[in-house]
Amino acid sequence: MNALRCIALLAAVLLGGGEQAIGAEGPRGTTAAPPLSLVEQSLSGLPTALPLSEIRRLSADLFSEDPSVQEQAVRTLVERGDAQLLAGLEEVRSGGDRAIRLALKPVIELLKNRLNLASKDSDTRRSAAADLGTFGKPIAIPWLEEALARESNRWVRHTIEESVALIKLASDDPTTKISAAAKLGELRSQNAVSALKELIQQAEPEAQPTDQQKAVAQTARAAVERIEVWASWANAFETIFRGISLSSILLIMSLGLAIIFGLMGVINMAHGELMMIGAYATFVTQECFKAYLPAGAFDYYFLAAMPVSFLVVALCGLILEATVIRFLYGRPLETLLATWGVSLVLIQAARVYFGDLTSVAAPSWLSGGAQVMVGVYLPYNRLFIIVLSILCVVGIYFLLFRTGVGLRVRAVMQNRDMSSCLGIPTRKVDAYTFAFGSGLAGLAGCALTLIGNVEPGLGQNYIVDSFMVVVTGGVGKLTGTIVASLGIGGLNKLLEPSFGAVYGKVLILVLVILFLQRRPSGLFMMKGRQADA
């Protein structure tokens, strides 16, 4: 109720705009907010609220020609305002014209961030502190320092200190400036670089700087250097992380492909589309959770989606093997073409059935990220995919080398005819391996929903890269696939900054071709007596 009245009043005062506000105050005040005394009464009941007359006066001051009067009005409004005033002001701003929006902006920004500094959510506190720092009004320093005293979160503290130093850097006092610059260097603040560089420029000989300016510039120079050294480290670290992240995606995708290729000599061109099916299985699981289960369970849909997409896609793989691949054994190139045909049909079917773009909401426990050092932020979803790929490798290793089924698979891989003679049902092994490899594709598709949209062409984005991984890694060795995906993923991200994504890819193709000059069968090859190596 109070807020509503406040809005009505402010609107009456401010909507007139500019200097007219005061003149128009009488008649409009009476028509828009009838019993003024009532409003005054209710406002004065609030502990932090300003008296009505003062709000009116200050609002008019905001449009004053004199900057100091303006400044004073902002200061008073912000220092004494509260959430209700903020809501009122925002309401006025959204309805007002350009002049009103401009005049209210500093008040709202400062007031909002000051209130947010006390928020329960650490991200909100942090962004409020950062905003105050960029806004650069000295008035914010005491609030920030007060917030700092009670803050326990390391990264929020860091941002608050950075903001305080940033504001102080703009002060007129050289000693404050020097200490702020030194502090910013210590904090490795990337945000301060441009301001610091400006200070250095002021001390260029052509500008005939004073001694004080020279001293400031010296500190600033040291700080910039420190920040830049740190930034290059952080950058390197982030590049490595991005490389590992891409590698892990490639790895999950290539594992299934490599197992199938190793066992049957078949490149499954529909692998990308099996991933796409996995992604849609995740999407459907999410929709089912939304529709049939209580809202509290929604966050755990992803845990259910992983086995679901694995099983669904494994079943698809089984069907694909039984209807197409089975008839093409020993003819890898034909298989390649036929599976490509299958992939075209699957893409179009998904497009017709699901439409072009659907997205999966990442569960809340995977959104956000961990800050590990200044300037380096690792998103949880990428970390999750990395962990998942490691789990997959461990699982496959266990399955292949520690179980009876794995023994049979390896036997067929090494010598199909001999295994068959020894009583291993090779066709069955093929079918199960194909289903398992497809299931891995489904899992990869499920993981990909965390970092991108679900669309029919989803599989196409990475598929050629993962073919390259398989070809580079060689047949039948898990290690080859792991090393090749780390190599290709890492190189991709390493080359991207200097060559751009496109030329980086071209360069990788060239490197792979050159690499195959030395090792035509990939990194690791099966040792055997085949002349056809």
């Binding site: 290729f261 000599g265 490149i267 197409v324 008839f327 093409l328 020993g330 003819r331 890898p332 190139l333 034909e334 390649l336 073409l337 036929a338 490509w340 045909g341 299958v342 992939s343 075209l344 049909v345 699957l346 893409i347 179009q348 079917a349 017709v352 050629v464 073919f467 390259m468 398989v470 070809v471 496109v502 030329y503 890819k505 071209v506 193709l509 792979v512 071709i513 050159l514 195959l516 000059q517 030395r518 035509p520 069968s521 002349a531 056809d532």
Partner: protein, 384 residues
């Protein structure tokens, strides 16, 4: 020996007749039907139809080259779109420069350079002012590129699936590079809006007719060239490489050289096809040279019947005709049709239309004595 080797003699007796009959129809009858009857006559072939047919025949030239390498030598290349594109862009650049100041912006530079604020013609565009250079480039650039790429690939004995994947990556890379604006090749929009070639207006039906006839002649030439290669000693080695590369190697031949030769020839044919394609269709974009178009080219050959030149040409025309009809009436169904075609042809008709025809005829001739043979198992053991 593989099945295609067995089929060939069966169709060879009729081949000369078919060649001359088809040649006569394409070269004389169709253009005459385009010129002579009145437009409302039943026999009339419209300018549009003739032009569209010319486009299919360009693809047939490419299919011949692809058949040479895949059907006869057993090397699956998924990157022929790149060679096609190189030929097409070479001529396209010449036609682009020929527009001169007729362009939308009235600048001597191609329109897309004006958009991209390129002030001066890039150096590699300058030679293409000359028609001769452009024509030579359309053949030589893909040839040289194939020579380098093939040398690296075959020298290290990359083959089978490995070669297919590498060429597919090549197609992807080429698509990415041609899509970029800073390579000054027109970006996503490609090269288009051509006006004239050697002083003839491209919008004139007469010019298009001449281009059509030129395409037919080139197709005939390409056919004869491929046939000559296949019937020569080299051709026998190529087929031997397909059937057992090691045996060829151990017999003292160098498969790498033969493979390189056939790869280069097929790249040159693809370049020629691209060069003829651009003035008739009037546009070349990166979308026509990427991964999917390159794969589609393979399916033309598969549908027609690989290992037979006639089949490859027939497949290219047939599939593209089906495409233009189907995408016209049922645009959503085309991917289903194409994918289904991939699967059906590979599974059920590994010798394509020509193989089917030969088999039906054989069955007809030998009716009574005919013994059922499964097309997918017993006949295709030698296939790689």
């Amino acid at each position: 020996m593989s099945d295609t080797g067995a089929i060939e003699p069966r169709i060879r007796n009729g081949e000369g007749l078919i060649f001359w009959l088809t040649g006569f129809t394409l070269l004389v009858v169709l253009p005459l039907l385009n010129v002579l009857p009145t437009p409302d006559s039943l026999l009339h072939v419209s300018d549009f139809a003739l032009n569209r047919f010319g486009k299919f025949l360009c693809f047939a030239i490419l299919a011949l080259g692809l058949d040479l390498i895949w059907g006869y030598t057993g090397i699956l290349s998924l990157g022929h779109g790149v060679f096609f594109g190189l030929g097409a862009y070479a001529i396209g650049m010449h036609l682009m420069l020929n527009i001169g100041t007729e362009s939308v912006y009235g600048s001597a530079l191609p329109d897309f350079m004006v958009w991209n604020q390129v002030k001066e013609l890039p150096f590699f565009w300058k030679p293409f002012y000359s028609f001769g250079v452009a024509l030579a480039g359309a053949i030589l650039v893909p040839t040289l590129f194939a020579l380098v790429f093939g040398f690296l690939a075959f020298r290290s004995r990359i083959k089978g699936v490995y070669f297919a994947i590498i060429t597919q990556a090549l197609a992807l890379c080429a698509w990415l590079v041609f899509n970029r604006n800073e390579t000054n090749l027109g970006g996503t929009n490609g090269l288009t809006d051509f006006k004239q070639v050697l002083g003839f207006r491209l919008s004139e039906p007469g010019t298009q007719r001449a281009l059509y006839i030129l395409t037919v002649l080139c197709l005939g030439g390409a056919y004869l060239l491929c046939r000559w290669i296949i019937r020569s000693r080299t051709g026998r080695v190529l087929v031997a490489i397909r059937d057992s590369e090691q045996r060829v190697l151990f017999s003292g031949y160098s498969p790498a050289n033969y493979k390189l030769f056939v790869f280069v020839v097929s790249a040159a044919l693809a370049g020629l096809a691209g060069a003829l394609y651009v003035p008739q269709v009037g546009i070349i974009t990166p979308a026509q040279i990427g991964v999917l178009p390159s794969l589609e080219m393979v399916i033309w050959v598969a549908v027609g019947g690989r290992g037979t030149l006639l089949g490859a040409a027939l497949g290219a025309v047939g599939v593209n005709w089906a495409r233009s009809v189907l995408t016209n009436y049922f645009p959503e169904l085309w991917p289903f049709f194409l994918g289904g075609l991939f699967v059906t042809v590979v599974l059920l008709f590994p010798d394509g239309l020509v193989g089917l025809f030969a088999r039906v005829r054989e069955k007809w001739v030998a009716s009574g004595l005919w013994v059922r043979k499964s097309p997918t198992t017993s006949e295709s053991n030698g296939r790689v």
